[in-house]
Point group: C2
Chain length 305, copies 2
DNA sequence: CAAACTGTCTGATCTGATCATACAAAAGGG
DNA sequence: CCCTTTTGTATGATCAGATCAGACAGTTTG
């Protein structure tokens, strides 16, 4: 495995074969005649065979030359195809996109984007892993991770797609049972549905026009999965804190109502995180663009609602 | 057709893929780690895509990397095969040997060597052009030319295979009709069969132990093909001058007898001439070796006869 | 926490590709 | 037959880029 073949010389050789002249080949390649002459000489030396019979006037291939030309052309075509395929993949999505997203955000936001993505790029394949907090993008060979909340990772590159607001909601029935002038200050005395998915379980910071209230909630039920917690709130068990995207439909259709609507909780970010790489494949870039657009649409919708 | 792809980097990449490590790849390639790192980086830059995910601890291919590896392996295998095929051709005969030889020498000497050659290298093909004085080896794509007599060409490389002696012969019947003490001095008064193939038609220089006779012959028949001239002599029309190889059989079997046996005519050379080339293919080299051996055998046979 | 190993970076070095020019040989034109 | 043009090659200067040795930061392992 000692000596490497210098494959770059193949292009010189095939060009000479095609043009039938060193001078013409040099022109086409944009180098000096002497370079072509030298490179062909080196190639012949490597092969230990004469490829081209050169009179001062004409250059004709030997039998070896003709044989080698066919092989060289195959190699170059193959190489061009390989380079093209990969380089095109940098422009146009191709292959399989492996992504991961939190379950609730995934079902609400990512799944529709996946559908749109597959409509736009029908020959793509998508593998989605809907799980909260995936360990390692590199080990799992994941192209794209969606993280909602507050980024913990540091080594991965990330792009912010949007913002989540956390909203306190209750079923209309439960909301009606609350005192009309209730504020977060009475939070501890109310019935809460806890959601282990969101951080800051212990304390929540409510704020309104510079006025802030830091309070502990008092979960009467603690669920470790968002959909379960949501189901509890829908059932009228108590108040719950959820990211806007997961309750917006229920609010719009009257199944839930916001509570403390003029107060706000700390907002988190929605981030796309990528494994460390010099270049971002098109399949990832386009998907993230789609998702970001969906996020912008959503935030406008929320803003106007 | 502007930018050339640097195909040499493919070997770096495949080695990293196979060893699964930059360090191991560097070892196998016999270069520094930094070189491999740099070359892979350049390759990824050329492609505009990341091929290998590298943690400090492990290196895993991306989807593009795995895809590209397959293509790269095909290319490298193809290249190795192409180089091998040609390089092997420099050691072991392969392909087609195109040769040219004079008709008479060809039928007597070259044809048997061709037979032996094909027995030794059964997968070879030979194209023989039996014609006297072929114009241009390069234009006709001829690998090997046999020239008998006196070399005129200058630009081609040549190798001397042997010597021809020219012999004056006659049929036994015609020889019997000659005066027993006839010498070349009486040449002009004898009946000659002319052979346009041999040069020096006009005058012949006979020599014996320092004694020389320059004389003109007197052709009663002039043939432009050696075999025809030979047929005339065999028919007893007159004396003829022929190269030794073309009459040795007839002499041995008594159909012809030498005349002026103790005189000699200018001897010529038998040469193998080659088109200008840096390297001589094995198919040519081996054939010439065989022919040279046959010539040595012949000259010994003549010497002992 | 230390040791070993990873891939990458840095600056010096040097191979080898490239260039501009000159040249010999051959073909074509007058 | 001379002259011009065009061929591929030779030459020496120049420069890009490959290579190397060593240092480095990060991770895994014990």
């Amino acid at each position: 495995m000692a000596e490497l073949l210098n494959l770059n010389r193949l292009a010189y050789f095939t060009t000479v074969m095609e043009t039938g002249s060193f001078t013409a080949a040099a022109d086409r390649l944009g180098v000096a005649k002497a370079v072509v002459s030298h490179q062909i000489g080196k190639l012949e030396e490597e092969l230990g065979a004469t490829l081209l019979q050169r009179t001062t006037r004409r250059v004709t291939p030997t039998e070896e030359g003709r044989l080698f030309y066919d092989r060289a052309m195959i190699i170059l075509r193959e190489a061009e195809a390989a380079y093209g395929e990969i380089s095109r993949g940098a422009v146009e999505p191709s292959g399989t996109l492996r992504l991961t997203a939190p379950l609730d955000y995934g079902t609400k936001m990512v799944a529709p984007v996946m559908a749109a993505y597959l409509r736009t790029y029908p020959h793509m394949r998508v593998e989605a892993i809907f799980d909260d907090a995936v360990s390692n993008l590199v080990d799992e060979q994941i192209d794209l991770g969606i993280r909602v909340g507050w980024l913990a990772d540091s080594s991965n590159q990330a792009r912010r797609l949007g913002t989540i607001r956390q909203i306190v909601v209750a079923s209309p029935g439960f909301a009606a049972s609350l005192p009309p002038d209730v504020t977060p200050r009475q939070a501890r005395s109310l019935a809460w549905v806890g959601n282990a998915q969101l951080r800051g379980i212990g304390q929540w910071l409510f704020s309104r026009e510079g006025e802030t209230v830091l309070t502990e909630l008092n979960p009467v039920i603690m669920c470790d999965k968002s959909p379960a917690a949501l189901a509890c709130v829908l059932a009228g068990i108590g108040l719950g804190v959820f990211p806007d995207y997961s309750v917006s439909d229920d609010i719009a259709e009257g199944r839930l109502v916001p509570v403390f609507a003029d107060w706000s909780l700390p907002s988190g970010g929605i981030h796309a995180v990528f494994p460390p790489a010099r270049f971002r494949p098109a399949k990832v870039r386009t998907f993230v663009d789609l998702l970001a657009a969906a996020e912008r649409r959503r935030s406008r919708g929320v803003a106007t609602a």
